[in-house]
């Protein structure tokens, strides 16, 4: 029922249903965060799930875009759409520059370079307190209204902002789907499966890796901008490798190489951190256990888990 073109329609319908239902199930603030991190997780999925490069430094682009957005809004009262565009651009540009250096290497070196750059920017943000507020974060971020022609839609309540975030997410999702379904997406996947063969066939592997990295940086930047307006403050964590790690979690736990995997991962992660953290402070333990189990036994993540479940129950159904 979910196969083929009709399947695609059903999938989209389910996604829209999820968007409508989510703020009724969790607080709107948490629901917004789920879609924000879904965008960032989709971006990592593009470079890891599809192109085979594990980046442990996506927070660099997330944070740089968040700070850019924050500063533009505080000092220049920049309008919303300008800020969104600027953040996405900053993310993409930073990824283009950093990515150029990183993709010169593969494997561990690549991971360490992305991590190293993340650390470097983190420390710069930490120490450049006059610009970023350092450890205290950058406070006083407004939520500019959405100006659509003559209309100015206010976004000051959690619910209104959720609707906006969800709309931006849908656009981002559509864009990502286009990338993944395009010939570009196929090339990315071929690089993951066998870089040697891709090169042999005639593709400039490094260039395509760089392209994937840059595109992912743009998406991550977009997520960063949305995040900056969530709490009225850009916290230092936005650029910390903890967030880089969180995004890696979401992609792993959701299921890599699948367009919907990152969404499941983001939802699971944010839901866990919201509900469990109040009950048990040591909830990162559960996160660690989940990651270990996924890595050892269920590398397809939640997507694979539910696929297996479905097969198991379908099998039993057929027998009965």
């Amino acid at each position: 029922m979910l196969e083929g073109r009709r399947g695609a329609v059903v999938r989209v319908a389910l996604l829209l249903a999820a968007i409508v239902v989510l703020p009724l199930v969790v607080r709107p603030v948490v629901a917004s965060e789920i879609w924000i991190f879904s965008i960032a997780a989709m971006a990592l999925n593009l470079i890891f799930g599809y192109t085979g490069m594990l980046s442990f430094g996506q927070a660099t682009f997330f944070g740089l875009a968040a700070y850019t957005a924050g500063l533009l809004m505080i000092h220049w009262q920049a309008p919303l759409l300008v800020v969104l565009a600027a953040g996405t651009l900053v993310g993409a540009l930073a990824a283009a520059l950093i990515g150029y250096v990183c993709i010169q290497r593969v494997g561990v070196y690549f991971i360490m370079l992305t991590f190293g750059f993340n650390q470097m920017f983190y420390f710069i943000a930490y120490k450049w307190t006059s610009l970023t507020g350092g450890d205290d974060g950058l406070p006083g971020i407004p939520r500019p209204p959405l100006a659509l022609g003559p209309l100015g839609i206010r976004l000051d309540t959690s619910v209104r902002y959720y609707v906006f975030v969800a709309a931006v997410f849908l656009l981002a999702f559509y864009a990502m789907k286009r990338v993944v379904d395009s010939p570009l997406g196929v090339i990315f996947q071929s690089i993951r499966e066998n870089p040697g063969r891709a090169a042999a066939v005639g593709y400039d592997v490094k260039r395509y890796k760089w392209l994937a990295f840059t595109i992912a940086g743009g998406f991550t930047g977009l997520a960063g901008v949305l995040y900056s307006m969530m709490f009225g403050i850009v916290p230092l964590e936005s650029i910390s490798w903890i967030i880089s790690g969180d995004i890696v979690f979401m992609v792993l736990i959701g299921g890599i190489g699948n367009l919907y995997g990152p969404l499941l991962g983001a939802a699971a992660f944010k839901w866990l951190s919201e509900t469990v953290s109040i009950v048990w402070e040591r909830w990162p333990l559960i996160l660690g256990v989940a990651l270990v189990l996924v890595v050892l036994f269920l590398r397809g993540g939640l997507v694979e888990a539910f696929a297996r479940l479905r097969e198991a129950t379908a099998g039993r159904g057929a027998e009965a």
């Binding site: 249903a17 969790v26 450890d135 539910f306």
Partner: protein, 405 residues
């Protein structure tokens, strides 16, 4: 990969989340008054969280666990000393528990984030900290600062220290690089101008463990005083490292905005030699409220309270008194009751400045005793000075318009 699973996933998630999410507002008794203590239970101030919790709990218990006939529900949330976590948890408590009264956290930096939440959500907010911004640049009608203004505090420390040590004109500062450190450094330098003190400083992040480099630099400066404008364990580490390197006790250590008692308990008598501490609260304070609180605290916990529990106690107590005074627990009414109130409480005479919401009150300067001078195991220090002067001039206070309710 198959995707029909998503439907099942959504269904189970919805059910599960609905089960887990306590519909608190529905079941919460309307008569209950919820008070939130947002304290650091993890992170660089993890040791202070439980102390603050004790102080707030003590005040609420002393009040009979109810106010205006309503039972008090005291809840805590971990600030983690992270702006993102604290603001998120504060909003969550406001949404799910109906919180309208918030006390905490401990870090000035995190407080600046929390105060934004209190302003936006119009909840009553009490903080005790060294950043001038809570009652300055970021002031608003719902937020109050219990601690002495850093302007006053640094003057009390320096004026009284210099009175006793007029030749100590070379000061090396260790400053934690965030809102708290910046404020106390600014006013330390300002207060020192009058005496012609020569300052050199190093800034390091809160939670720095490696102080050897900084101690070496301080030693090379040949200071008369090593002035600690840092917080948390940084204070302990700096003091120990200064002794390890042979800098102290030759050179005096002045911990200008200190915890006092709980730090003293961690340091052995040798490392307390020539240690001076400026603090908002020392258990030896000679006020009836302080004495009673010390008695209660010591009976329960076998040690006297330091700045943290006294602050939590003091803020909670004043809030409860304000509620009684206003005959209402609505944030706007508590605010009006506190503003311009002159009364006696933990620090002695307190007055809440209505223009800035800064509490005008005494600050303490302590000088640690040598072990042979201690009359009992907790007799750590002499109170060398108690003063609420000088007051911060209105002209330099950056709170120009505290706004409407």
């Amino acid at each position: 990969m198959k995707n029909v699973s998503r439907r099942r996933f959504l269904a189970t998630t919805a059910a599960g989340t609905a089960l887990l999410r306590a519909p608190a507002l529905a079941t919460a008794q309307a008569a209950e008054l919820v008070m939130l203590g947002i304290w650091p239970f993890t992170g660089p101030f993890a040791d202070v969280g439980p102390l603050l919790d004790r102080g707030m709990r003590l005040a609420i218990e002393e009040w009979g666990n109810k106010v205006l006939g309503r039972p008090i529900k005291y809840i805590t949330r971990d600030s983690e000393t992270k702006a993102s976590a604290a603001t998120r948890r504060m909003e969550e408590a406001i949404d799910s528990e109906g919180v309208k009264i918030v006390v905490g956290p401990w870090s000035s930096g995190v407080a600046l984030a929390c105060t934004e939440v209190s302003k936006r959500r119009k909840v009553f907010y009490y903080f005790s900290g060294g950043t001038e911004d809570i009652a300055g640049k970021r002031c608003h009608r719902y937020a109050f600062n219990w601690a002495a203004s850093p302007y006053t505090a640094m003057h009390v420390v320096i004026d009284n220290y210099m009175k006793l040590n007029p030749t100590h004109k070379r000061w090396y500062l260790f400053v934690n690089d965030y809102a708290f450190g910046w404020s106390v450094e600014k006013y330390t330098r300002e207060a020192g101008q009058r005496y012609g003190i020569e300052f050199a400083a190093d800034r390091m992040p809160l939670g720095t463990r490696e102080y050897s480099g900084f101690v070496s630099k301080a030693a090379a400066f040949k200071p008369d005083v090593l002035c600690l404008l840092n917080a948390g364990q940084d204070v302990i580490v700096s003091i120990r490292e200064a002794h390890n390197f042979g800098l102290a006790p030759k050179v005096a250590i002045v911990n200008s905005w200190g915890i006092g008692t709980e730090d003293f308990l961690q340091l052995d008598p040798k490392t307390r030699e020539n240690l001076w501490v400026g603090t908002n609260a020392y258990y030896g304070a000679n006020t009836p409220v302080a004495k009673k609180m010390t008695e209660m605290y010591q009976a329960k916990y076998n040690a006297p309270p330091g700045y943290a529990p006294c602050a939590a106690y003091g803020m909670t107590r004043l809030t409860l008194r304000a509620i009684e005074k206003a005959k209402s627990a609505e944030p706007a009414d508590i605010v009006r009751a506190l503003e311009n109130w002159e009364t006696q409480d933990w620090p002695g005479r307190v007055w809440v400045n209505p223009k800035t919401h800064q509490t005008v009150r005494d600050y303490f300067l302590l000088r640690c005793k040598k072990s042979d001078q201690m009359k009992h195991q907790f007799d750590f220090a002499d109170i060398v000075a108690v003063s609420g002067q000088p007051l911060m001039p209105d002209t330099i206070n950056e709170c120009k318009d505290i706004g409407a309710l």
